[in-house]
Structure formats: C-alpha cells, structure tokens
C-alpha cells in the first residue's frame, strides 16, 4: 500500500520496488557519475550556508503559509512535467525541467524546452544514459532549444540546424551550483531558497528534479520531485521521495537563466 502526501505517492525504503520501473517498461537512463567528474571548467561549488535541520519544520510551514515555495510557483504557472517517452535521457530531462522552473521564477513566458536538443548532441545521437552535470555543462555553453525547433525526444541530427541554434542561445543557464554528493542538507537548503535541484539517484538508475522540501510527518522529511514519465505518473507527474531515497548521488542547481521572451 503506497502512502500518499498531498495526493502524491511517497516513495521510501519499504515500497521503492513498486516505482522502480517506468510504467511502460521502458528505460530511465541515468549513468553513475564518474568519480572525477565535475562541470568541465565551469564548476560552481555549493557556497550557501546550510539551513540547520532544526529550522526545517518552521521554514516549511512559513513557505506553505506565504505560498512561496518553488512548487507553489510551478503550480501557479502550470509548468507541466516532461515525458522522456522511452529515451534514456532522464538525466537531461531533469535538468531541462529545472531550467523551465527557473524561467517560471523569472516570470518569463513558459516555453517547452527540448531535452533531446541537449542530450542527443552530447551522446553523439545515441540513446544513452548520462548524469545531470553533463546536461547542465552543455546548457551553460550552448543553451537548450525549444520544442518548437527540436521535438522533445527527437534523436535526430536534422534538428541541429540554424533555426534551433538561433533559438537555443536564448535558453542558457548563467549561474548555478554544484552540490556535494550524498548531501541531503545541501539539497534541503537549495529547496528552501526555491532553487530547483536535478538529483541523480543510483538506487533508481534515474534522475529527477527536486522542487520542494516537505515534512511528511513530524520530524520526517522528503522532497517533492518532478519526474519525467509524463503527467500520468504520480500526481500530474509529481511524487515524493523520502530522505533516504532523495539523498542525491550527484546534484546540480541552476540559479539563473537568460531573460528572454522567446
């Protein structure tokens, strides 16, 4: 029996097997991050003071009261989850969703961005797994094209054309953080400051975008995630991971994107 929190499934140590596979039986696609990997030449170490765990309950309550969590912003604007639809590009979908969330905070027009426009060139147009830092590194340098110019899951060189190149430069990330591996405290601190965090999870072989710290019962914390298995998964594509399942094996946090209406 799956627990639920605000209508979302809660995935924890006692039920994770139920959620291990994508409902369609297709793959997820996260590769373990190489031990020596960092954002090539653009590393931005985590430099925010950690919010003490003792403050989390009150902070979460404050964000709920003022309706100012990132999830509140996402819901207000209606940033729908992505659907990797059989590709192995979860690691890129999570980062691209984070870019869309950052644009939502900026109140830039909601433009559906294409994970394949990033993942396919990185992987030489092969349907391969990766980790979030690879995707963010590419988006920092090249941007991400909108789905108008590159369909979300199209692993096809024909879309790497002048139109998509002209479009993608408007969707670059210009400030970001790289979190320490296995640090739930850093993840919680980012979320309490309304930063989306793509989190790589070795237990799941999957990458998702964390968008909110929640207290599922007194003193028990978890995070709301935007999955990339379409809106029929969980509650409109969102679910909750308990702390043990949400503690990331690697994580990045885009902070600022280019301000662009197109």
């Amino acid at each position: 029996m799956t627990d639920a929190f605000r209508g979302m499934p809660v995935i924890g140590d006692d039920n994770w097997q139920e959620f291990y596979d994508e409902p369609t039986g297709l793959s997820k696609g996260r590769s373990a991050r190489p031990p020596d990997a960092s954002l090539g030449g653009v590393a931005a170490s985590f430099n925010i003071p950690l919010i003490p765990r003792a403050e989390w309950s009150d902070r979460i309550a404050d964000l709920d009261r003022s309706k100012s969590s990132l999830k509140h912003i996402i819901d207000q604007i209606g940033v729908k989850v992505l659907d990797q639809n059989g590709t192995n590009y979860c690691w890129c979908n999570a980062v691209v969703y984070a870019v869309m969330a950052v644009r939502a905070v900026m109140n830039e027009p909601q433009i559906r961005l294409s994970p394949a426009s990033v993942a396919a060139p990185i992987k030489g147009y092969r349907n391969q797994g990766g980790w979030g830092g690879e995707a963010l590194d590419y988006i920092i340098e090249h941007g991400v094209a909108s789905q108008q110019f590159w369909p979300a899951n199209a692993i096809d060189r024909q879309y790497d054309n002048q139109a998509s190149k002209a479009d993608r430069v408007h969707h670059k990330v210009t400030a970001w953080l790289e979190l320490a591996n296995r640090s739930f405290n850093q993840l919680a601190t980012c979320l309490l400051h309304r930063l989306p965090v793509p989190i790589g999870l070795n237990w799941w072989g999957h990458e998702v975008c964390a968008v909110q710290l929640v207290e599922t019962s007194p003193g028990v914390f978890g995070v709301v995630i935007a999955n990339s298995w379409g809106s029929s998964w969980g509650n409109a594509g969102f679910g909750v991971l308990t702390e043990s399942k949400a503690t990331p094996d690697d994580a990045v946090a885009p902070q600022v994107a280019i301000a662009s209406t197109t």
Binding site: I48, S68, Q76, V105, M106, R194, V256, A259, T262
Partner: protein, 152 residues
C-alpha cells in the same frame, strides 16, 4: 500627500515652533511618486520589475525572501499587469546579473539599468505614478506598495 502625511507635517511644524527638531523626516515622503515626469522608465500600463541577487537570497530575512517569491504577490501581478500579445503578464523577477536578451520587452531592458542602492529592488510604474525603491520587507507591505501603483 495623503491625510496621514498632512497630519505628520502639521505635527513637525508644531514641534519646530516648540523648539524641538526631528532627525528623520522620510515618513513624510510617500515613496510612490504621483508623477510620471520623473519616472526613470516610462510605462504605458502597469509593469513591474523585481531585481534580486539569487545567490544572496539566503542573506535576506525570511519574511522578505517569502515576499520576493510569494505567489500571493505574483498572483496580484498576474491579475493587474498589462499583458503581452501572447498573454504573458508583463512583470519580471530577474537576477541583477542576468543576461537580458534582445527579445525582452523595452520596459524590462530599460528598467534593468535603473540605478539601485540595494537588492532586492522594486520598480513599478503605470504611466501615471511609480515606485522605485528597496523591495518591501514582507508580503503585506509588498502588496500595499504594489496596490498604490497598480490599483486594488
């Protein structure tokens, strides 16, 4: 100047004749300027730019950080700001160092160049009056400030 400010002015004048001076007179000045003539950026309708330092959000008091990101505030802005042809409410919440693309609205591009003494900063204009100053400290004062420019 509203009734409260007139009363304050009378009070200060009375203190002056009594030989007492007050060091602070800023409450007499309504931060919302009821003139478009001196507006740093003109607007043909209610438009707002919020400028913040995303990397320094953690340095803000919790109440101000909440006000900065509150969906009550953004809900007000969505309801009252002018809309682009695509229906986008014309307000932005941007990092002070954000790259501004040419596609951004002229208002946003020009308002990003307004001199700011601190962050976060709020600029709101409606073609008749404007507010240009530090971002208010909490949700209620933010909404009160915005309503003075954008209406109820």
């Amino acid at each position: 100047m509203d009734r409260r400010n007139i009363a304050a002015l009378v009070y200060v004048i009375a203190l002056h004749f009594a030989g007492i001076s007050l060091p602070i007179v800023s409450p007499l000045i309504d931060a919302v300027v009821p003139s478009v003539a001196s507006a740093p950026v003109k607007s043909d309708g209610f438009r707002v730019l919020i400028v913040e330092d995303v990397a320094a959000r953690h340095t803000l008091p919790k109440e101000q950080e909440a006000a900065l990101l509150s969906t009550e505030v953004s809900g007000y802005l969505n309801a009252h700001c002018v809309k682009s042809p695509s229906g986008q409410s014309e307000w932005r919440r941007l990092d002070a160092k954000a790259t501004i693309a040419d596609s951004e609205t002229p208002f946003t591009r020009e308002a990003m160049n307004i001199k700011r003494d601190s962050l976060p900063w709020l600029y709101a204009a409606n073609g008749r009056k404007f507010f240009n100053g530090p971002y208010p400290k909490d949700v209620d004062s933010t909404l009160a400030t915005l309503r003075k420019v954008g209406g109820q």
